[in-house]
Symmetry: D2
Subunit: 142 residues, 4 copies
């Protein structure tokens, strides 16, 4: 389930998959990056665009920086909500912020920030195409 909760913010809700757990009995810390990425995809979908369309325009968003803090673990089959907010759009760079919740108890599990740079098909840093800056900048004025 995906829900736009502000012009720049999505809530995406799903169950923890068994394959996402490790021998400690909890979700492996690397999986949160996969969830963050899926939340970015969800944000673009609920905004009426898609990251697939962005890449179809010949550009990609390469992850340049990641920060994560782990507060409490998630477990198999729990219902999880990832809140993802597009917090900054610059000419060549975007920043997203995340909070992961247990969807049933509301407990905060993890927070994170990812930065992305726009690259072309040769992997060279380039400007975010103006039509995309415009679409995303609604989030700046909100």
């Amino acid at each position: 389930m995906e829900k736009l909760i502000a012009p720049d913010t999505v809530h995406t809700t799903f169950h923890v998959r068994y394959a996402e757990t490790d021998a400690m009995g909890i979700v492996h810390h690397s999986m949160y990056l996969v969830w963050f990425e899926e939340a970015r995809s969800a944000l673009m979908r609920v905004q009426g665009t898609s990251y697939a369309q962005f890449e179809a325009d010949g550009v990609s968003l390469a992850v340049s920086e990641v920060e994560m803090r782990f507060i409490a673990p998630a477990k198999y089959d729990q219902l999880i909500t990832v809140e993802c907010r597009l917090s900054e759009v610059k000419s060549r760079k975007m920043t997203f912020e995340y909070t992961v919740f247990n969807a049933e108890t509301g407990q905060k599990l993890t927070t994170g920030i990812t930065q992305h740079i726009c690259i072309n098909r040769d992997g060279i840093t380039t400007r975010i195409p103006p039509q995309w800056v415009k679409r995303w900048s609604v989030t700046e004025n909100s």
Copy 2:
């Protein structure tokens, strides 16, 4: 989205995550096993139980055999439906069958079968607890 479409069959529908793709531009073949597993979880949820509860009873379902055929590839952001049917429950063994579809076009992408044996916490093969055989056997008589 999870939907019981027969007493023994679920449809679970979700978007392909970017992390599930590989450099060939398509979903990595190992991911279908993760999707199959999530479809088993979904089946148990829509049947009103859960695999977490099953494990809480001191037993697990270890995968003993897998077969998969790949017909067409899945790509990032596509909406996918996995149909999962519990096709056999024996005293120590269960079999599930799967078909993966492109949810929008209806195109069949992949089929698969997984067999599972019931093990206890020491990893020894054991009988499926009778209350679980009973819950699941509805699927046998349907």
Copy 3:
């Protein structure tokens, strides 16, 4: 560690990564497909070629069928050997067979077979380029 043990067979040996385990305390069954794939890569490397070179020639090997049998589980930090044999090369299709061992005890853990079809950049089935059939066919005559 990679070692050619016959013209068509490699042994590749590595430690189980923590991220490869699941909440059952054992390696997740989907990971064996990742290990099989890495063993195919190792086979090509020890044969003096590489799958990257194959793809550089404009073709890919898409997985078309998988079969796996799980005999005993693998656990975190264990030393694992995957034996991978290229068992058949046809004009458009290749078959590999696998056995996974505990490298220290010699215990057989898993067996598998994967079939692959050669596709071009448009995803259309095509002939394996003749220079590659030739390189790989040594395995046929051995």
Copy 4:
């Protein structure tokens, strides 16, 4: 290949697996956390202990914080070296620092830091057992 290059630092070297790449044609950013974790395992092995032994003592190291910077991408089949240094051991907390290199060109690809807290089997923060603080503190005096 694993090599102790200082009392607190390991170099672990391996090939990029195909499954670690994504549709952008490069290694998915989440995989670096898996590589960091494997480098921690390698460090403990070359120091003559193992993380499996640590967990056998009834405690785990839960990841509490992560920071990563991505400088250049890694690609399929490249030989990668992860340098992992245990930079701090406190009574309940440990910090590791990482640099990922292209092993053939020496190019720096990624840097990272992970913090870990010691937890018991109930998930409660606890002291790192004294025998482990002692083993690891060699790294403090080096």
